[in-house]
Structures are given as structure tokens and as C-alpha cells.
């Protein structure tokens, strides 16, 4: 890949930063995370309709704006830096990619609505054990009239309460398949979960004779979900890089100004070395995420290995950055009032979501065919 500074990247980054400076301050984030929908409808409209970030990486014939996953990753990184609560990950990365990758032309209108930001989507995949695996779903589909009927429950559905459109992975006579549930479907119950990370909402969805359309052909889900999970891993890693950078900035700023024993605490090696270790892990993470996001559009064969690599590394890197940020701030870092707790909770949750570091290292071992 080309490591020179990319003008497209910088223009995407600066427009998102401009939005966040106006509408994504810490005060905004706290207000939005405590609001009922968990995101700001005006802010979402500004990001989607005006800045067009929901259309990034969507093919133009489906209402997209050109660019690729590399640019989408920049948006996610910036949103992760600010912890800005938005359905971009759940809607654009999970739901829209699942539909686009199904190869089903009958969902073009839904993809266009997601790309426009008009519609918010979610992907119901995980059951209560928290395995993000299409062969372990508990939702069952049975033919009913022209379509299908769903029974069962999905948990940890990102943006599941706010979504207008639900993409569901369900078992159809032993074959994991993809379904689409319309916004006003009967027999769909959504129960918001009490999330540790208030900046990213989740819900439990219960399907009780809920009508659904089949997407693609029976048995499409394993292939589609595998590639969506790789994208999810890279997307979360991009957010993790942004969040960790903010944690390091907060820690370094504090270490430069906080005086104890007559010296700034940043002059003590114990503090310096913590900051250096965070930068060491972050610097490597940034390059790897950029490469992984680039490979989505340019070297698809390399995506599975890079996705697991960056998700495992960035998860641990972000947790380290957030933990050290709190430690360097001392008691203040432990308070509700200070921003560090928000970052730690995002680091904690995004490390466990869509595969823990251990899970991804095992996946990497498989993908490298170790011992095969």
C-alpha cells in the first residue's frame, strides 16, 4: 500500500473533525448518551445527510458516495476519538454491509436508505451466550405465506432499539440464513439493555411470529457474516485507535501540568514510561489499522488475517491507554465527572464485542493454518 499522505483521507478527517468540534464536545456526548434514543437525531442527520459519511464506501449505483472502507475507517476513528454516540457502526458497517454482501439485488432500496442515513439499521446475530457465530443463532425461521416467520431471541444487538430496519441471522431448516424485518413488524419486541458503555446502545430483540423477508438464498449467512465480522473488527479497531489517542493526549497534558513534590509528574520516569508504552502500542496500531482498512478495497485476500490481528492488538492497546490515563490522573481519573471513565468503558466494551483478543488470536492461528 501507499503510505504517503492521502488528500482524500485528510479532507474526510477534517470535515468530521469540524462537525465534532461544533457538536461532539464532551458536554454533547454526555447529553446524548443520557438521552432516550442514545444518539442525537440532528447530529445523525448532519453526519449522514449533510456530510454523507453513511454513503462512504457504498457503490454509487446503490446511492453511495464513492470512497472506500479506508475513508470510512477514518470517520470511525474520529468518532471514536470523541466517543460520539451514533449508529454509524451498527447501521453502516453491520446492517448495510450484510445487505450489500448478500448479493441480493432486491434489497437495493434498503441499502440506498441506509446509505442516505434516512434509515437506521442493525444486525441481530448474537444469542445470549454472546457468540458472534451464524451457526449458533437461536432464532428459527419457518416459511409462512409468501415469506417467513421468525421465532427466538437475539442479544447484544448494537443500536437494536433505535434501528428502523433489522437484519436477522436465523436458522432455516438447519441453514443459517439472512432475513430482513421491516420497521413496523408485528411480533418484534425490543428491550434496551443496560450497557456499561453508555455511548453505544444495545438491545435484546425477541421475535414471536415476526414476519420476515429472506435475503439472498438459504444458507448465505455464514459467508456474509464472516466478511461482515472482519469489517466489524477493523471498524472497531479504527475507533480504538482514535479513543486511545485521546486517552494518551489527556494523560500527557495532565502529566505536564500536574505538580507534586515541586515537579510536574510527567518528569517522573514511572509516569513517562507509562506514556511511552502507550505510544509504542498505539503507533503500531495506527499503521496496521490503516493497512487493514485499505486492504478491504484493495487486497481482500489479506483481510481475514489483518482483521483478527488489528482487533486483538487494538483492543488490548486501547484498554492499556484508558487504564493508564486513569492511573496518571489519580483520583480525578476515577470520577464520573472526568472523561476517562467514558473512554475506559468504551475500551472495555469494544474489546469484548465481536470477539475478544483471545478469540481473535485463535482465529489468526486458524487463518495462518498453524498445525494444519
Amino acid at each position: 500500500m501507499d503510505f504517503s499522505t492521502d488528500q482524500d483521507h485528510e479532507s474526510v478527517r477534517s470535515s468530521v473533525r469540524g462537525f465534532l468540534t461544533r457538536s461532539g464536545t464532551e458536554a454533547d456526548v454526555r447529553r446524548i448518551m443520557e438521552s432516550e434514543p442514545g444518539h442525537d437525531p440532528d447530529g445523525w442527520a448532519a453526519l449522514g445527510k449533510r456530510l454523507g459519511v453513511t454513503a462512504i464506501g457504498v457503490p454509487e449505483e446503490l446511492g453511495g458516495a464513492g470512497f472506500g472502507f479506508a475513508e470510512l475507517a477514518i470517520v470511525l476513528e474520529e468518532l471514536g476519538t470523541a466517543l460520539y454516540p451514533s449508529p454509524l457502526f451498527g447501521s453502516r458497517v453491520l446492517a448495510a454491509e450484510a445487505l450489500m454482501r448478500s448479493g441480493d439485488e432486491r434489497v437495493a432500496d434498503e441499502v440506498a436508505a441506509l446509505a442516505d442515513g434516512e434509515t437506521i439499521g442493525c444486525l441481530a446475530l448474537s444469542e445470549h451466550s454472546g457468540a458472534w457465530r451464524p451457526d449458533r443463532v437461536s432464532v428459527k425461521a419457518t416459511p409462512a405465506g409468501d415469506g417467513y416467520s421468525l421465532e427466538g431471541r437475539a442479544s447484544f444487538v448494537v443500536d437494536g432499539a433505535a434501528a428502523d430496519l433489522v437484519v436477522v441471522v436465523a436458522d432455516l431448516a438447519g441453514e443459517p440464513s439472512l432475513f430482513l424485518v421491516p420497521p413496523d413488524a408485528e411480533g418484534l419486541e425490543r428491550e434496551p439493555l443496560q450497557t456499561v458503555d453508555l455511548t453505544r446502545r444495545q438491545a435484546r430483540l425477541t421475535f414471536d411470529g415476526c414476519p420476515a423477508r429472506l435475503v439472498g438464498t438459504p444458507g448465505t449467512a455464514p459467508r456474509v457474516v464472516a466478511s461482515v465480522l472482519d469489517l466489524a473488527a477493523i471498524a472497531l479497531a479504527a475507533e480504538q485507535v482514535g479513543g486511545a489517542q485521546r486517552c494518551l493526549d489527556l494523560a500527557v497534558d495532565h502529566a505536564k501540568t500536574r505538580v507534586q513534590f515541586g515537579r510536574p509528574i510527567g518528569s517522573f520516569q514511572a509516569v513517562k514510561h507509562k506514556c511511552a508504552d502507550v505510544l509504542l502500542e498505539l503507533d503500531a496500531a495506527r499503521t496496521a489499522v490503516r493497512t487493514a482498512a485499505w486492504s478491504v478495497d484493495n487486497a481482500p485476500d489479506e483481510v481475514p488475517v489483518l482483521a483478527s490481528l488489528v482487533k486483538a492488538h487494538c483492543s488490548e492497546m486501547y484498554e492499556l491507554a484508558a487504564r493508564e490515563c486513569i492511573q496518571i490522573h489519580g483520583g480525578m481519573g476515577f470520577t464520573w465527572e472526568y472523561a476517562a471513565q467514558l473512554y475506559f468503558k468504551r475500551a472495555h466494551s469494544s474489546a469484548l464485542m465481536f470477539g475478544t483478543p483471545d478469540h481473535h488470536r485463535e482465529a489468526l492461528a486458524d487463518r495462518l493454518k498453524l498445525g494444519a
Partner: protein
């Protein structure tokens, strides 16, 4: 990656040279018998001198290849890929360190005298910086040099002099001014011949059993006036400059060497059937990831370097990364070997530091154990991990001293 686009035709030339001159069936230097390695290395070095590949980026008037720094990194990378040395054991000191420093700061007279001689083997250098009392804190060194007529007279002691026994000259950081008033200004970098009564070298036996380091004693040792590099009192600047040349090229070569070592580790684990152990699988995947992260970051750094950005304190990040990683990789090999790794057996490593050479047998216990022991020195030599973290914190993050 820029070194791939801009240097494509040059890279092909280097590959063609390797194809033409490497012995048939070449597997990497690690495939040689360790006893045969020094002889091969001497023969190979002479070939590189003849083809002007020994110092690719030096001007041709001094025997160099007249190539760009990027092209020089390509030579290093391609040589690492096939596991063949870039030169002799002392060339990192003669060419990369003092040679490059002479090109940057030396007088024309010094360049004409030393540069061609370093390449043709007349001058074989080693490095005299660290002292028993001053390793990390280099600015406080106490080895003194005073003028006596047309000569410098040197008294003091240096330590950790790598490859001192195969050298005939040494560059020595000496105190020539007043220590109290000018810690930094009072230093001078001197070129000193080793074969004289005032210099004594005593090998130090190391944790890995090897003796590639010496203590070097100076008792009224002499060298000529005019052999100070960077001028009298300019030693600190010259030494700082010199240490930046120590790193650069490793950005291109280390990922290649580490990957070759990982491939050997993978083969070892497969031979022992140890991938059935989920912890071994996970730890290997972790090591593989760290090497891949090093490779990707290295490509980024080389691209920046090729665009003319200088790599300064970032080299501290690189050094921290690989040196903290290396012991984990060799430690995993020892865990897989189990009780076998409590004894020495099989072939010794051809090279102890920065991995054994590519082509080394994957299941040689002695190679893994001796390289594992050597990794303990890698987080100490050329700036300890603690010093590197200070540099990162102060220069990259702006934390106060």
C-alpha cells in the same frame, strides 16, 4: 511502499547480483557450518567491495556505489531476504557508524585517508563509547585525552567494545575539556590505532558463552593531532550523529530476519506437534502479530524516510518494539523444547544477536538457547529500554526532563 516503486529496477539489479554470485543451493548463512561462516564472510565481503555494494550510498570517489539512501536500504533488505551478510563483522562500526560520520562531519583529509581504507580492509574499526562507570549516562565519561606536542595522549578505560579483537582502530569518545564546567562541550571523538603498547584489550565472557565484547584499557595511548572527528570539543555532537546511523537500516532488515526466525519457530513447533496446545497456538499468533506490526510500521517509516523526513526519536520506538519482543519469541521456542532447552545440543548459532541467520536448522537447541540468552543484552545495548522510553516520552510526547 515507496521503496518498492522507486527502487524497482535497482532492486532487480541487486537480485540479479545475488543470483549470479550466491553458491548453488544457497539456504542462507544459517545453513553453513558455523566454522565455515567466517571464511565465507571474508570471501563475500571482497566480492561486495569489488562490485561497490559494500557501502552503496557512499560517493564513488571513496569506493562507494554512489546510490541513494533508499537504494542502500534496498540492498540491506534484499541481502537480509536471502540471509547473506552485508559485509564483515566490523563493518557496522567502520562503515555505518564512523564512516558515515566522517562523510557528514569529517575533514577532507580524514575522508581521503580513512574512507577507502575502511572499505578495502586497511582500517577495521570498533567503538569506544561506554565506560565501566558510564553506560547510559554517556555525557559523564572520564577517559581523558590531552595534547602533548603533535599528539593526543589518552588515559582511561572503555567497556563493551564489540569485535575489538578483530579491529585495528577504535573511535573513542574522550574528555578533552573541563568536566565541571562543560559536560557536553568538553568531549572529543578521536580515531586511535589499537596496535600500540598503550592499548590493551581483554575479552569479557558473556551470558551466552561468547566473547565478542572487550574491555579496552588506554594507558598513555597515542594518536595523531588532526584525528578528532567533528573538531576538538565537538565530540558530543559527533557521537549523537553517529548513533543515528546505527539504527536506520535495521528498519528494512529486522522484519525480514524476525520473519525468518518465526518461520523456523513454526517449523519447530510443527516438528514437536505442539500446535495441539492452544496456549502455544495463541502465543505464536501473538508473536506473529508483533512481527507483522513491526513490518508494517517499518514500511511506513521507510516511506517517510524516502520522502525526506528524518527518523529521529521514532527509532527509539522501533528499538523498544523489537528488543522487548525478541525474548518472547525465543522464550516460546524454549517452552516448546521443554527439558531439551536445559542442555546444549545441535548446531550453535551463526549469529547470536538480532536472530540467528536465516537458514539455521529449526530444531537446533543450541541455536535457540544461545540466541535466547543473547536477547537479554538486546534490551540493554545501544540504549537500554528505560533510556528509549525516556527519549520517546521527552522527544515525541514533550514530557519534561
Amino acid at each position: 511502499m515507496t521503496t518498492q516503486t522507486r527502487g524497482d529496477s535497482f532492486r532487480d539489479e541487486v537480485r540479479e547480483f545475488l543470483r549470479e554470485h550466491l553458491p548453488a543451493g544457497w539456504q542462507g548463512s544459517g545453513g553453513l557450518d558455523p566454522g565455515a561462516y567466517p571464511g565465507f564472510r571474508e570471501h563475500w565481503r571482497a566480492l561486495l567491495v569489488e562490485h561497490r555494494l559494500i557501502a552503496p550510498a557512499w560517493p564513488r570517489e571513496y569506493g562507494g556505489g554512489g546510490h541513494t539512501a533508499v537504494e542502500s536500504a534496498i540492498v540491506a533488505e534484499e541481502f537480509a531476504r536471502v540471509g547473506v551478510p552485508r559485509g564483515g563483522a566490523n563493518d557496522p562500526f567502520g562503515i555505518q557508524m564512523i564512516g558515515n560520520t566522517l562523510l557528514a562531519l569529517g575533514t577532507e583529509e580524514q575522508r581521503r585517508r580513512f574512507l577507502p581504507g575502511i572499505l578495502d580492509g586497511t582500517y577495521v574499526f570498533c567503538q569506544g563509547f561506554s565506560e565501566p562507570g558510564h553506560g547510559s549516562d554517556l555525557s559523564n565519561i572520564t577517559t581523558r585525552a590531552r595534547r602533548e606536542g603533535g599528539e593526543w595522549v589518552i588515559d582511561g578505560q572503555k567497556i563493551w567494545t564489540s569485535n575489538a579483537l578483530t579491529a585495528n582502530w577504535i573511535f573513542v569518545l574522550c574528555r578533552t575539556g573541563d568536566q565541571d564546567t562543560s559536560r557536553y562541550q568538553g568531549l572529543t571523538l578521536l580515531l586511535v590505532p589499537l596496535d600500540q603498547p598503550g592499548v590493551e584489550r581483554r575479552p569479557i565472557r558473556m551470558i551466552n558463552g561468547g566473547d565478542e565484547f572487550c574491555e579496552t584499557f588506554f594507558t598513555g595511548a597515542r594518536t595523531g593531532a588532526g584525528l578528532e572527528v567533528g573538531g576538538v570539543g565537538g565530540g558530543w555532537q559527533a557521537a549523537t550523529r553517529l548513533l543515528t546511523f546505527e539504527r536506520g537500516e535495521t528498519t528494512a532488515t529486522l522484519p525480514v530476519r524476525f520473519r525468518a526466525e518465526l518461520d523456523r519457530l513454526r517449523t519447530l513447533i510443527e516438528l514437536r506437534g505442539a500446535f495441539a496446545d492452544p496456549l502455544v497456538r495463541r502465543d505464536f499468533a501473538w508473536c506473529w502479530s508483533r512481527v507483522e506490526l513491526m513490518r508494517l510500521n517499518g514500511q511506513r517509516n521507510l516511506a517517510r524516510w524516502a520522502q525526506g523526513e528524518s527518523i529521529g526519536a521514532e527509532s527509539s520506538l522501533e528499538k523498544l518494539w523489537w528488543s522487548e519482543l525478541h525474548g518472547k519469541i525465543t522464550g516460546l521456542a524454549c517452552r516448546v523444547l521443554g527439558a531439551e532447552a536445559t542442555t546444549y545440543s545441535g548446531q550453535d548459532p551463526v549469529s547470536y544477536f538480532l536472530c540467528d541467520e536465516p537458514g539455521a536448522p529449526a530444531d537446533s537447541v543450541s541455536s535457540w538457547v544461545k540466541v535466547h540468552l543473547s536477547t537479554l543484552g538486546e534490551t540493554i545495548a545501544a540504549g537500554t529500554s528505560e533510556i528509549q522510553r525516556n527519549i520517546v516520552a521527552e522527544r515525541l510526547l514533550g514530557l519534561p526532563r
